[in-house]
């Protein structure tokens, strides 16, 4: 047997976690670009970005915590 690949549910969860972080970040960049380019208020755009990142951070912390207990 030349090599063997073993997948654990934890490693799959970790990979999916990083894919989700990447997707969330890229989407956030698209949103922020639109808010700051076409938005009417810089303050509103900044607050929106802060809320998006803060909410995302809470969700990702919960996700990371739950993956750890797989």
């Amino acid at each position: 047997m030349p090599f063997e690949i073993t997948y654990s549910i934890e490693s799959i969860g970790t990979i999916l976690f990083y894919v989700l972080v990447l997707f969330f970040s890229v989407y956030g960049i698209f949103l922020a670009y639109h808010w700051f380019s076409f938005g009417t208020s810089k303050n509103t755009s900044t607050i929106a970005l802060a809320v998006y990142l803060l909410g995302g951070a809470i969700l990702f912390l919960t996700l990371a915590g739950s993956i750890r207990f797989f």
Binding site: Y27, F38, G39, S41, A48, S66
Partner: protein, 195 residues
Amino acid sequence: MFTEKIQLESDEVILIQVRKHWFILTLQFVGVLMGAILPMLFLYALESTPIATVFDLSGYGSEIVALYTGWLVFIWMALFGVWTNYYLDVWTVTNKRLVTVDQRGLFHRDTGSFRLERLQDININVRGILATFLKFGDLEAETASGDKNFVARGIPNPQELKALILQASDKITFRAMPVVEDTKVAAPQHMNDGL
């Protein structure tokens, strides 16, 4: 920002910027948030059926939390997608023109503008009980060329916006007209007969 993009003239001022009514945004938010409770309903339904005896989920608490949190990440992103459409979908009335932005998606955006002297007519549609009580509706601006009508859907206080646009339009139109001191002299003869 937006005001730099539309390049205001030196003597041009923004009179008002209008977005959709808060009720429209709330409806869309509720629609997205319904998606957040779908997995819970699914799990509840699964537990109450005979399938629950085949799939025993009691030992997979953290996996279920992880899946649900991952789902909530998508819901969170969708909420901001909805809000972005609301935030960027804006009608700007200046003392010279009307600039409309219709944000249809993240990379689909229709922008239009016309000078207020080209304004022909404004129509308002308020349909339904909620729209009547919450004071929102559609406003359609017809231009003199008639090739394209500008429609704003679900905007708050359409009557007030109509009045504001007409007022600004009248100011421009009357400023452009020659000043006539004596109407009796300036008007055609048949109109002066009764004076």
